[in-house]
Amino acid sequence: MIPASFDYVEADSADAAIAALAEHGDEAKLLAGGHSLIPLMKFRLAAPSVLVDIGRLSDLSYINDGGDHIAIGALTRHSAIETSDLLTTNAPILAHVAGQVGDPSVRHRGTLGGSLAHGDPASDLPAALLALGGTLVAKGPNGEREIAITDFFTGFLETALAADELLTEIRVPKVPGAGWSYQKFNRRAQDWAIVGAAAVANGSTNVALVNMGPAPMRATAVEQALAGGASSADAAAVAAEGASPPEDLNGDAEYRTHLAQVLVGRALDEALG
C-alpha cells in the first residue's frame, strides 16, 4: 500500500504532456483521475518512474454537441457524464453506465479517457462504448489521429495508443431513440462487475461484455445470431462464444459463462423489448 518512488511532472497542456511522454518513453505514465493507476502503484504491481499529471488540463474536460455526435473531453469525470443532459438525451447508456462505476468519490475523480486508456476488461465504460460505437481521438508528436472504438482494445490492459500518445476526445453517436441496457452483476455496489453486458439496439444490435476475456469485447456471436434472425434467448445462449473468461474467487469459467448468457439475455430483453 506504499508505492515505489517516482518522479512527478505536472503537464500544463496536452502538448506538454505529449512532450513529457516522448522524453521519458516507457518509464512514464499519464496520471488523470488516478483511480486505476494509483491502486496498481500502491500494490507495487506498477512502478512507473515518472508520472505525468494531466489531471489539471481543464480544457480536456467538456461534453459538447458535435452535430451528428457528442464530443467528450478525455478528462471528463464520470460524475459529469452521469449527470449530463446532452448525454442522457442522446446516448443514455453512457450516462447510465458512468453512474455504475465504483462509488461517488470514484466517480468524482475518475475520467472517461483514463478508464478507456487503462483498458481494464472488468471496467464498465469500455463495454458501454463498445456497444454504443464511437471514435477516439489520440494526439501524439505527429498530430491527431482517430481510432474506432472497436479497434482500440488490443489485449490485457493494452490499447492502440502509442506510448507517446494522449487520448484527447471521445466521440459518440447520437442515438436518442435507441433501445439499450446495461446489466452489471457484482456482489457489492462499489465493485467491478463479475460479468456485465451492454446492449444498444439502433436498427442493428451491438452487444459488449465486461470481464469475459483479457480485454473489453463485443459479443460478436450474439450480434451475428441476432442479425440472422435468432430470438433473444437463442442469441443469448451463444454469449460466451469467443470469450475466455477469467477465474477468480468470484467465479470460475463455467459460472461466468452462465452469467454472460443470463445477463446478455436480460440486456437483449430490455434493449429490444
Partner: protein, 789 residues
Amino acid sequence: MTAVMGTPMLRKEDPKLLTGENKFVDDIQVAGQLWMGMVRSPHAHAKVGTIDTSAAAAADGVHAVYTGAELAEMGLWAAPLPCAWPVTEDMVNPPHFPAAAEEVHHVGEIVAVVLADSRYGAVDAAELVEVDYEVLPAVASIAAARDGDNNAHSDLDSNKAYSWALEPNPEGVDAAFANAAHTVKGEFVQQRLIPAAMEPRGVLAIPSPAGGEVTLYSATQVPHILKVMIAATTGIPENKLRIIAPAVGGGFGAKLNVNPDELLAVTLANKLGRAVRWTETRSEAAFSTHQGRGQLQTIEVASDENGKISGVRVHLDADMGAYMMLITPGVPLLGSFLYTGVYDVPAFGFTCDGYFTNLTPTDAYRGAGRPEASYAIERAMDMLANEVGVGPDEIRRRNYLAGGGPFENLETASTLVFDSGNYAPNLDAALALAKYDELRAEQQSRRDAGSSKQLGIGLCTYVEICGLAPSRALAGLNYGAGGWEHATVRFLPTGKVEVVSGSTPHGQGHETAWSMIVADKLGIDPNDVEVLHSDTAISPLGLDTYGSRSLAVGGVAIAMACDKVVDKSREIAAHQLEANPDDLEFTGGQFQVKGSPDKALPIQAIAYGAFTAHDLPDGMEPNMNEQMTFDPPNFAFPFGTHIAVVEIDEDTGNTELIDYIAVDDCGNQVNPLIVEGQLHGGIVQGVAQALWEGAEYDVDGNCKNPSLMDYLVPSAMEVPNIQTGYTTTPSTSNQLGVKGAGEAGTIGSAAAVINAICDALSPYGVTDMEMPATPQRVWKTINNAKAGA
C-alpha cells in the same frame, strides 16, 4: 430532574469524530521519530537462512536494520509473546517472538525490521533486504493439520495443540442419542474472517529523554493488559511504562492482542532513545493482525418424537493459526457453553481439538466463539424442525428454557446459571414485527407461481454470554487474569464531575453512557460529567473492553462508585443540616430533610464542602473521590430473535437480503441510541460472514484476498433498513439490570441469514449452505440439488 438513563441522548463523542478533531495514533507526530518497515516472510513455512541487510542499511534515511536473530541477541526479549489462556495443563505453546530468527510459520511473519526516518523510506528499504528461505511444506487448513502429513512447526511432532472437553453428563448424552426418536447432525465451516476495523492498527513508542521510561501510543482495546504484558515480555519495569490508547477506530477483538509491532516499537525506542512508530497498511493487516473464527463444527441433536430435545453433542476442530496469541486457545471455550442456546437441553457434551496451521493466528473477533456456537445450534434447530415436520418457530417454542416463560438464575446443561430470560414473548414480538404469516404466504405464492426469485425466511433465537467476567469463573477456565472493572467518580470543587473509567472505548460511546449513569445517580446534568480513560497514567486500574463487558461490569462499577459518593454526601448533609442521615432524602440532586423541602443542600454544594473541608463530620476524609472495583457475581445473558428475509435469484445465484428484523433483549438500556447502533453494526458484521467475507488461502498458505478489493466488507448499499424492537428482562447480575449489546447482532445474524437461504432453497432439496453464500456457491448448490433430485 427527569432520568436520562433510557433516553436516546446524542453521543458526546460524535462532534469530535465528525469534525476530525480526534487524534488517532497515526495523527500523532513526534520530532525525530523513526518508522519501522517490516521485512515479512513471503512463505507460510520456511527455515530462515542468511539475511543480507547491507543494501537496506545503505539506503537513504535508514538508521538501522535488525534481523530476528540480531534482535534476540540484543537481549530485547525477556519472554515470548504471551498467551494468557493456557486452556489445559499440557497445551502446546511454541515460542513466538516479535521477529522470527530460525523458522517462519505464516506468511507475513516478521524476519527483520528496518528503521528509517520516513514511512516510505522504511518500506522501500525493507524491500532491499535479501533473505534466503528454505521453503517447507505448509499446513494451510484445519483438514491438513488434522491429517498430519506435514507439521506446521518443524520441531513439533504433531499439529495438535490441545484437547478440551466440557462433558458434565456423558452417560446422559449417550442415553439421549440411544433413545432418540429423531437425530440431526450438522457439519459446518466457520471460515476465517479478517476483522478490518476502520482504523488499522498502529503504534508510536516515545522514550523519555532521560531514559528508562517509555510511553506507547497504540491503537489497542487493552492498554491496561498491554502494560502488564509488555513488562512481562520485555523486562522493562511495569512502573516505567505508560500505555495510551488515543482515539481508536474500532477493534472488534482484533485490537485486544499483544503484537510483535508493539513490542518492537517499545524495545527499539527504549534502546535507541528515539521515538519509533509503525502504521499497518490495509493489505498488511491480513498478516499482522489476528483473524477470527476458523473452526470446523460437528453438532448432533437428539429429540423425542415431538422434537423436544433430549441431548446435544458437539465437536470442534479449531484453527489456532501459527501461534497462540493472547487468548487464541480460549476462543472455542467461550463458545462451548452456548451450544445449548436458549433451549432446555437435559444432556450436553462438548469436545474441542485445537490445531496449529501455517496461517495468521486466530483470536477474538466480535463474539469470539459465541457466534460460532449460536450458528451451530440455530442451524441444527432448523434441521430438527424439518426432521420433525414443524415450523422453525414451533421447534424453538417447544424447547425454550422454562417453557419460554420468565425465569431468573436458572442452571443450564452447560453448567452456566442464566441470570434471567423470557424467550417466548421475545419470539412473538419478532414474528409480529416481521409480519411472519404474511411472509410465509408470500413465499408460498412465489413457489406456486414458479418464480425465479425465491423468498427465504430465517429465524435465529440466540443467547450470549456478556459481562466478562466473574473472576472465579475465569479461574475455573485457567484464564490468567480476573474479570473485575474499576471506576473512580470524583467531584471537582466547581461541581463538575470527573469519572475515571477502567474500561476503554474504541467507538462504543463510553463517555456518553457513563455520563448518563452518573447524571441519574447524582442528579446532575450529563454534560457536567467528563469521562477520562485509555491512559494508564490517568486510569491506572482497569481490564479494558471486550466480551460485551463495559456496561455490565465497568458501567456498574461507575454506578456503585456514585453510590459511595451519595453515601458520603448524605453523611456531610446530615452533619450540616443537623439531621439524622436516615431522615434525609436525596432527590433531584439535593438532600433534604423528609417533609422539609425548604431545608435542602445541592450535592454540588456538599462536594464543595468536602473540598474546603471547613465543616465535615469528625474524622471524615476531605474531598469527594470514590473508587469502586466491581467483580460481577455472574455473567449476563442477553438474548433475542432475529429474522432474515432473503430473495434468491436462481438464475444468477445472487442472494439479496431484503429485510432484517431484530428483537433484542439486553436488559435495561442506558442509551437506546447506542444499543441501536451496536445492533446495526453487529448485525451487518454477522450478515457479512454469511454472505460476503472469508479469508481464502491457497494450499501454500497464501491469502488470496488480503485487500478490500477482494475481501468483501459490505457497505450501506448492501444491507436493508434493519427493523429493531426490544423486550426488557433485567439482569439479576448487577444493580443496573443491564446485560450488554456489543456482540449481540453478530451472534444472531449469520445463522438467521443462512437459515433463510436454506429455507428459500428447500424446494430444490438444499439442506445446507457453506458460508459465505457467494452467488457462484448458491448457483452451483441449486444445480447440484436439481441434478441429484
